[in-house]
């Protein structure tokens, strides 16, 4: 594939998005099927409890430790959350790939624009949740 051809940029970005969606969708489907096998006929109320006084507010795994532990034991909730994280990573990888594609076009202005967007995005996603003034 000739990366300096503008058409190939559309093709590559389209593929990044499609594979991201398929992968995250597949993981969420597996987790959902397992969850349904365990709990389809349980009452949903206990799963929907929201505790405003504690973080995390729910009783499902969201921290690195609880997620890895949950995945190791094949917990459906952890598998679904992994799928959700893959879904969240899809737009980020699209921005990341754009940098290389603009670079291959020798489009310097857009390489800088995209690098700035990626930096802002990663800061917002990964850093702000842990800074108190951002409500982390």
């Amino acid at each position: 594939m000739n990366l300096s051809d503008p058409d190939s940029m559309n093709t590559v970005i389209s593929k990044v998005l499609r594979y991201g969606v398929l992968l995250s969708g597949a993981v969420i489907v597996v987790g959902t099927a397992l969850l349904a096998a365990h709990a389809a006929f349980s009452q949903s109320g206990s799963f929907l409890t929201y505790n405003p006084n504690q973080v995390p507010h729910g009783s499902f795994p969201v921290t690195f430790n609880s997620l890895t532990a949950g995945l190791a034991s094949g917990a459906p909730m952890a598998i679904i959350e992994l799928g959700v994280l893959l879904l969240l990573a899809t737009p980020v990888s699209r921005v990341l790939f754009s940098i290389f594609l603009f670079a291959a076009e020798h489009n310097r202005t857009y390489v800088y624009i995209t690098l700035t967007v990626l930096a802002l995005l990663l800061f917002s996603m990964l850093v702000t949740p842990y800074i108190p003034i951002f409500g982390g």
Partner: protein, 278 residues
């Protein structure tokens, strides 16, 4: 309600949300949030967490098709994402100091007021391409796509600075209210930058995923992304969005504009009513 019932209802409603959202460049939060809070009595924080994920699903699910068909303008999208990401961070920073009810009221009113210029050009198909000057020329904010009848539509963007300012506001709203704010993105591209409607909605669709991802981390860590709600929503939306994308490439610009105006009216009303506690 049984877990199975909850999931089936969410799955089916989310397919509809995905179709609508992908057509008009919004995230489906307009459908997902009231369905969860009013329809199913789910806590508003879980509804917002689900909405953020639904935005990313709508965006990624449909954008693959739009980008491949060259309907989305990648340069316009990347340039404007500077504004949305900066706005989203600022929104998260000031969220604790802002009265979200007042904000929702203001934003709802803005959406309703912006119906006026939108309705005035309701029948417009392809705008006459303005001359490419200044910043638009420097950033090559121009493009073309192939219409349903096989003709090639060429367009140029005007007033990129205004468009970018609109995106900062969109990002700000998104960081503060947990929505994709696709409405505001489409409005900025349509009214300020004078892009064809289908380019505006597909480029907005492309961008909302990044805007939502910027604020998603905070919601995930807080434990607002509840798997039992988000799983059927994400799968339903992904299916709906890929269906919607196939519809849009065949739809006409005036039709897309009419659907957008309708969804905008509903979204604006919904926000005003919620802010007023009705």
């Amino acid at each position: 309600m049984l877990v199975l019932e909850l999931m089936v209802i969410l799955f089916l409603a989310s397919i509809v949300a995905g179709v609508i959202g992908s057509l008009v460049g919004l995230g489906g939060g307009v459908v997902v949030i009231p369905m969860l809070t009013i329809g199913l009595g789910v806590n508003i924080h879980y509804a917002i967490g689900a909405s953020i994920v639904s935005v990313i699903a709508t965006s990624s699910g449909a954008a693959a098709t739009y980008v491949k068909d060259k309907m989305t303008n990648l340069r316009v999208g990347m340039f404007l994402e500077l504004g949305t990401t900066a706005g989203a961070i600022t929104g998260a920073l000031i969220a604790t100091y802002v009265n979200s009810v007042a904000l929702e009221l203001i934003f709802g009113v803005i959406l309703l007021v912006s119906l006026l210029p939108l309705v005035r050009k309701i029948g417009e198909d392809i705008p006459v391409p303005p001359e490419l000057t200044g910043l638009s020329k420097k950033l090559k904010l121009t493009g073309s796509y192939v219409e349903t009848d096989g003709s090639t539509v060429n367009y140029n963007a005007t007033r990129p600075a205004e468009g970018l300012a609109g995106m900062v506001v969109a990002g700000l709203i998104s960081g503060l209210l947990g929505i994709g704010s696709g409405t505001f993105k489409v409005l900025s591209m349509d009214l300020a930058m004078k892009l064809p409607m289908k380019v505006s909605t597909t480029t907005s669709n492309f961008m909302i995923g990044v805007t939502a991802a910027a604020s998603a981390g905070i919601y995930f860590v807080r434990g607002d992304v509840n798997p039992i709600i988000v799983a059927p929503v994400a799968i339903g939306i992904l299916i709906g969005a890929s269906m919607g994308a196939r519809v849009l490439t065949r739809a006409r610009n005036p039709t897309v504009r009419k659907i957008f105006a309708l969804v905008l009216a509903i979204a604006g009303l919904e926000m005003v009513l919620r802010a007023l506690g009705i």
